[in-house]
Symmetry: none
DNA sequence: ACCCCTATATATAAAGG
DNA sequence: TCCTTTATATATAGGGG
């Protein structure tokens, strides 16, 4: 619809994608309104842009539409959602636990369950990671310094906000591992 | 659209109304599919004809769309229990994100947003952590060795299960950070 | 109700400001 | 990014099986 025929695939150019979304979003909403009026139908549309911005249209209260949806489709939105949420919580918690174990191992804690082989590997990982990280950090540090006092002032400002953000996060959900490391990073 | 311009009001003739609904319903669904594909957006449409027949389209599971809707709009579609579950997911996700950032910093990645002060602190943290961890690991390693071959055999067995568990976790949700570190730990 | 056809009305891609 | 202006592509009203 327009000067060029468009293939039905994700528009690669980000700007074009956004522009097209804005146009078509309006088009879709208009069509939804029209059909609900012309044909005395109930229509609900919920859209999320790539960036996460929501747009909705519903000719009747959405909750009523959903109640109807459940009755018609036989799908139990509520219960199913509950199960999904619970499953997601399990998944995310497990991931969290793994991350924390990783951090502890890297700090030399909770080594008991590790076999000699794993300990050896951990030593190597630490050694490699340490050397690489240290080099990168120094390099980055050096670059920053080259930019002189002005930038350093700016960084101090940023540092202040970063530290308070870190503090806020601690208050929020003080994981031991994180608190310790945050302190290490944020203070001095 | 078509031979006659149509007023935006309920079509009086029942047959025409139904025919128009059928046509426009398909048009709307097509548009919804297109926008979701072209613009990488998430779109859900639920429609009920005058007669009560339901049609739905959702680029992502409708339940998830609705969860997002709730969060964005602030409107409660279902009970508080679900909201608590959602809040917990958000909380743990945020914590995961922080943990991953920490791991990256410790690996010398994503250093750009850090100020010189923070970089310095990170260096110290790495240095201290590294020395401490290494000492602890060596000590632990030494102790294990003292217990001789029998225990070592046992540890090999444990190691095997640990490694496959780690591999399974990778398959599950391969975060870059984790995968790399797990490899370091699990593989030698 | 469901196709098909065709004239028109709309939607929108591309381009420029 | 948003608006305006085209030229084109699509959607669809009305009509006939």
């Amino acid at each position: 619809m327009g000067r060029g025929k468009t293939e039905l695939k994700r528009i690669e150019n980000s700007t074009n994608r956004q522009v097209t979304f804005a146009k078509r979003k309006n088009g879709l909403l208009k069509k939804a309104r029209e059909i609900s009026i012309l044909c005395d139908a109930d229509v609900s549309v919920v859209m999320f842009s790539e960036a996460g911005n929501m747009t909705e249209y519903s000719s009747a209260p959405l909750i009523e539409q959903l109640a109807r949806y459940q009755k018609e489709s036989g799908k139990t939105l509520w219960d199913a959602k509950h199960e999904r949420l619970s499953a997601e919580i399990d998944r995310v918690r497990k991931e969290n636990s793994n991350l924390q174990i990783e951090l502890r191992h890297l700090k030399g804690e909770d080594l008991k369950p590790l076999s000699p082989q794993e300990l050896h590997a951990l030593e190597n990982a630490l050694e490699d990671g340490y050397a690489g990280a240290r080099a990168k950090i120094k390099e980055h540090h050096r670059k920053l310094k080259k930019n002189g006092r002005l930038l350093e002032e700016e960084n101090k400002r940023l540092s202040a906000t970063y530290v308070s953000a870190a503090a806020a996060k601690q208050m929020e959900h003080g994981s031991n591992v994180k608190v310790e490391l945050r302190n290490g990073v944020g203070c001095i």
